[in-house]
């Protein structure tokens, strides 16, 4: 199948660096995050043995903004672009990604902070197990190379997704969800923790497109590359659109 409508590997909605489109308002700081992201699957192979295979590309951009009245000066921006192959058999799916990341200091800090050259590539693998609709577990491991600034290369992740049963309201399906994502980064010796409690709205439970409203908490080192050595703890409200 050429250019299927949706990617085979379902988005890891708990991972704050998974491609998605959304806005997050920090609750404990005058700060906002914006994200635009998408995945595009080229090919889907469905052999007779019950497996499915996918190959595609993805890209996303993340922006961190201060708030100064009606203006939102930019603190930082990160870009990710990559390619993946994935496989799915029943409740188990796998994804192998090659990803490039670059991070850029926001122009509001032009006169107050020196930008660092932050650019790198990684190869990462994620295993996902979703035995039923209400529960998903995933784990991943990866390694950076061509790292600027130089650092130790390994990272790993572990996450959970829980969903309530869905309710039909006005033609849309509503369900609650809770997620947790842990990311260990050898370079900073940090474990970044991200938790979400939210509502997911879909038209059909078998479609990936959704709108999510969530309360979130993040504790760890900043996900924005220009601040990767800085501790970041925040909670916030977000609205996310998974295409």
């Amino acid at each position: 199948m050429f250019l299927p409508a949706e990617p085979l590997f379902k988005t890891l909605i708990a991972d704050p660096r998974e491609p998605c489109t959304g806005i997050t308002a920090y609750g404990n700081q005058s700060r906002f995050e914006g994200a635009v992201g998408t995945a595009f699957e080229f090919l889907r192979y469905v052999p007779n043995d019950g497996t499915q295979w996918g190959w595609g590309v993805f890209g996303d951009g993340f922006i961190l903004l201060d708030e100064n009245g009606a203006t939102f000066p930019m603190r930082g921006g990160d870009w990710h672009v990559g390619m993946y192959i994935c496989e799915s058999t029943g409740p188990i799916s796998h994804r192998l990604e090659f990803e490039h990341q670059s991070a850029h200091l926001g122009d509001s800090l032009q006169d107050s902070r020196e930008p660092i050259f932050f650019s790198r590539e990684n190869l990462n693998y994620v295993f996902s197990w979703q035995p039923q609709e209400y529960f998903r577990l995933y784990a991943g491991i990866g390694a950076w190379y061509n790292m600027y600034p130089r650092g130790l290369a390994l990272f790993s992740s572990l996450g959970l997704e829980f969903y309530t049963p869905a309710t039909n309201l006005g033609g849309a399906l509503f369900r609650g969800y809770a997620t947790g994502d842990l990311k260990w980064v050898q370079e900073t010796e940090a474990t970044n923790k991200s938790f979400q409690l939210g509502l997911q709205l879909k038209f059909d439970q078998h479609e990936d497109r959704d709108v999510r409203l969530a309360l979130l908490y993040y504790d760890g080192n900043s996900e924005f590359g220009q601040f990767y050595r800085d501790h970041d703890e925040h909670w916030g409200f977000g609205i996310y659109f998974d295409p």
Binding site: V36, T38, G61, F241
Partner: protein
């Protein structure tokens, strides 16, 4: 499948395709693409998803849509050895209403845009605050699969730096017939022309020409890959350089969802 219907009308939540087809010739339409500048050692990247919340299909054959769109555009220098420092990035976020009846479709958008100087240029240029909100109306006429014409008007209720607030926009799309391509897929050639006239920076006429190949699984599908050669002539589309002329050739690959 859940469906909300009243008096035979259909209201669809999160439909797979928006009512108003993307303007593929407009370099600032939300799009996901990688482009190489053939006139200067530069690259551009963009990510631009669009999500329609609601689609209403009354019995009279018209379709109505309400959704959001966001996009980010980045321009990079190329210094060799896989080093691509950032010159500028622009970010768009907006909401739209659209309608379609037969050959005509319309879109009314509200869009916020901000532009940010890339950190590569911090030692050379002083950034300025570039932020705008705009209302834009676009009418599209597509009498056949091979031809589309569109035109619109826009107004900036908030614009910094201060400039005159009106702009006009138009363009066309021409397509060849579909032909069989690899492994049962289809392809077709296309040409687009996009024109923007803005009453800013002393008067701006931005033109974009694109010659390309569109590749789909089936001709009815919206998902496509496009490979195109383009020529841009006007002032830069990047806000931090909106007063600077920009003429360049480019080659790009575009992923239409």
């Amino acid at each position: 499948m859940p469906c909300f219907a009243c008096f035979g009308d259909e209201l669809r939540f999160l439909p797979p395709q928006p009512v108003f087809d993307r303007l593929i010739g407009d370099p600032r339409e939300p799009q996901t693409a990688l482009m190489a500048n053939l006139s200067f050692p530069r690259f551009e990247g963009s990510v631009g998803p669009q999500l329609e919340f609601l689609q209403w299909r009354p019995l009279d054959g018209s379709r109505w849509g309400w959704g959001i769109q966001g996009a980010s555009f980045i321009e990079l220098d190329s210094l060799g050895h896989f080093v691509y420092p950032e010159r500028v990035s622009d970010w768009y976020l907006g909401m739209y209403f659209s309608e379609s009846s037969g050959s005509f479709s319309h879109r009314f958008e509200y869009t916020h845009v901000s532009s940010h100087l890339g950190d590569e240029l911090f030692d050379e240029l002083q950034r300025f605050i570039y932020t705008r909100e705009s209302f834009r109306w676009t009418t599209s006429f597509k009498p056949s699969d091979s031809f589309r014409l569109y035109a619109g008007l826009g107004y900036y209720p908030h614009i910094a730096p201060q400039e005159k607030p009106f702009f006009m926009h138009g363009g066309l799309e021409l397509y060849t017939g579909n032909f069989g391509f690899l492994l049962g897929t289809v392809g077709r050639g296309y040409f687009t022309y996009d024109l923007k006239i803005k009453d800013e920076a002393g008067g701006v006429v931005n033109q974009n020409f694109q010659w390309g190949f569109q590749w789909k699984a089936q001709k009815e599908n919206s998902q496509s890959i496009r490979i195109a050669l383009s020529y841009y002539n006007g002032n830069s589309e990047y806000g931090q350089f909106y007063q600077n002329e920009d003429h360049h050739w480019g080659a790009g690959i575009y992923f239409d969802p």
